[in-house]
């Protein structure tokens, strides 16, 4: 039997087109001939698969036709869960946002680096800049110093930097800030009456920003009894404090409060005070209402209004103790009798003014 004929017979068998006799004969043949039997099974499976394939294609076409009738776009809008806008923004633009953020961070770091703000003593550097600005805007008024390096004077050609100092003893020991006199060729102090005396720098403590000067001028006849005393213990927060100094040619009084027992970045050697201070106030006395010296006016925070710093007087007392004995004829004796206490502020200033000096630095 040829293959083609066999196939036709198999198909007739599978389709049930055979008569009863023929069918029985063929089934007998399947049992006897395993080869024919397997051909039957194979054909049945293959045509079955073909049939199912056809059904599948037809079903898919039907589904597509149904799908075609659905308004998918409207549904998409309806079922989409819209996350909050910030999440959406992040999802859609996170790469851009990341790049922008990195650039911003880089730019900030670069600016900080260029402007020197990455240094620890940023406010001192800033102060210097502040001073420069002040000089530009206010040339005729501000001629004195106060910053780390102080500023060149425009009005008075002779002296280069200025600060304030105040007397420690009646025999002419004066204290000011180290930064006022650092790098000086010669230093003079000028009293309230306008008389200048030559001083020498007796002792310095750069780490505490203290310089102790001694009037060496022969014209100097000594001061009267110092009216104020020096307070070793720390003063309390919110205490009323005042200062007196030479940010300009004439002395300037300023008062305020002790706002923090720590200075810049928590520096424990300084107080933070709210007393108005300008370049030139550096080295001036900081007194409490009873007329005790509690600190030395030192610096200001330029980023913030009304934040100024004063060295605690305890460090001044230590510095006095540390003055080498061979540079002194005798140990300095500090005044212990306060004659300012109980006076009105005007009276206090009247007494105080004779003991506060303008420090003029030449180099």
């Amino acid at each position: 039997m040829r293959d083609e004929q066999l196939l036709e017979v198999i198909e007739r068998y599978l389709n049930g087109d055979m008569g009863a006799d023929e069918r029985r004969a063929f089934e007998q043949l399947r049992i006897e001939n395993a080869d024919i039997d397997s051909r039957v099974i194979e054909h049945q499976q293959f045509t079955g698969l073909l049939k199912q394939y056809g059904e599948r294609v037809e079903l898919e076409n039907r589904l597509n036709a149904i799908h075609h009738e659905i308004d998918v776009y409207a549904l998409v809008e309806e079922v989409t869960v819209h996350p909050v806008w910030i999440v959406q923004l992040w999802r859609h633009h996170h790469s851009k946002i990341s790049v922008a953020a990195s650039i911003a961070i880089f730019a900030v770091l670069a600016i900080l680096f260029i402007s020197g703000n990455l240094n620890n003593n940023s406010s001192y550097t800033e102060l210097r800049r502040e001073v420069d600005k002040l000089r530009q805007y206010n040339k005729s008024h501000v001629t004195t110093t106060g910053g780390a390096q102080s500023l060149p004077s425009n009005k008075i050609q002779t002296d280069k930097y200025r600060g304030t100092g105040f007397a420690l003893t009646s025999n002419g020991l004066i204290v000011t800030n180290y930064h006022v006199v650092s790098g000086a060729d010669s230093v003079y102090v000028q009293d309230v009456a306008g008389r200048s005396f030559k001083v020498k720098v007796l002792y310095t403590e750069p780490q505490n920003d203290i310089a102790i000067l001694k009037i060496t001028d022969t014209a100097f006849k000594g001061l009267g009894t110092i009216p104020y005393t020096f307070k070793r213990s720390e003063s309390d927060l919110a205490e009323n404090v005042f200062t007196y100094g030479y940010p300009q040619d004439s002395p300037v009084y300023g008062d305020g409060r002790l706002t923090s027992s720590n200075g810049l970045n928590g520096d424990t050697i300084d107080y933070e005070i709210s007393v108005p201070i300008n370049p030139g106030n550096s080295g001036g006395p900081l007194l409490d209402s009873k007329g005790n010296i509690i600190g030395i006016v030192k610096a200001k925070e330029t980023h913030l209004e009304g934040v100024h710093f004063a060295l605690k007087s305890g460090y001044l007392l230590d510095a006095i103790q540390n003055i080498p004995t061979d540079s002194l004829t005798h140990k300095p004796v500090l005044n212990t009798k306060n004659t300012l206490a109980g006076l009105s502020r005007e009276q206090q200033i009247k007494k105080l003014k004779n003991y506060v000096f303008m420090v003029k630095v030449y180099n």
Partner: protein, 189 residues
């Protein structure tokens, strides 16, 4: 339109008996009723509307075959079954595309349907083999085979369509075509 149809969600038994009775409207109602649910699943899990269509139609086919085979038990909900199959298919698709981020946002409860999906996948492979074999077969063989074995046309009709002078020629042609189709089908890996 979809809203009107959605409001008339058919009951499960309506659908099952409808499909068993080859009711055209049953499939349509089924399709329209649950498409939004699947669209929601796919759209909100990194898919498009076209993905949703593919996945949903596959799931409908799985369900259809299961009902036709008579082993769909009415105790499990049609909705859950469809959702589960779609979820399973979509997870598979996502991992094939390497877009699967490890979690999927679910909107319905679901049940395990791995067996159904696996069976369906195997069948799909057979069908796609058949499809490409038929493509390779070319005309007129493709039409002769489709007419005879799929559309149940008689040899007489086929003879007339193709202008064969006698049925024997047509039979010989059909035989050759079938042999070639088998060869093409089994050659494929």
């Amino acid at each position: 339109m979809s809203k009107d149809l959605k409001s008339s969600t058919p009951t499960d038994s309506e659908i099952v008996f409808g499909i068993l009775n080859n009711s055209e409207s049953a499939i349509k109602r089924l399709y329209v009723a649950y498409f939004p649910m699947v669209l929601q699943l796919i759209i909100n899990n990194n898919g498009t509307a076209d993905d949703a269509k593919d996945i949903y139609q596959e799931a409908i086919i799985v369900l259809y075959n299961k009902i036709k085979k008579g082993d769909f038990e009415l105790n499990s909900k049609l909705k859950t079954f469809i959702y589960s199959v779609c979820r399973r298919l979509w997870l598979k698709r996502l991992s094939q595309m390497n877009r699967y981020g490890g979690d999927i946002r679910d909107f319905q409860e679901y049940s395990p349907v791995e067996d159904e999906v696996e069976q369906h996948a195997e069948r799909d492979i057979q069908f796609s083999k058949m499809q490409s074999a038929l493509q390779l077969l070319g005309e007129p063989c493709k039409t002769i085979i489709e007419d005879f074995y799929i559309n149940n046309r008689s040899m007489q009709e086929i003879c007339e369509n193709f202008g064969y002078t006698n049925a024997d020629n047509a039979k010989t042609q059909k035989y050759k075509c079938l042999q070639r189709l088998k060869k093409l089908f089994f050659q494929q890996k």
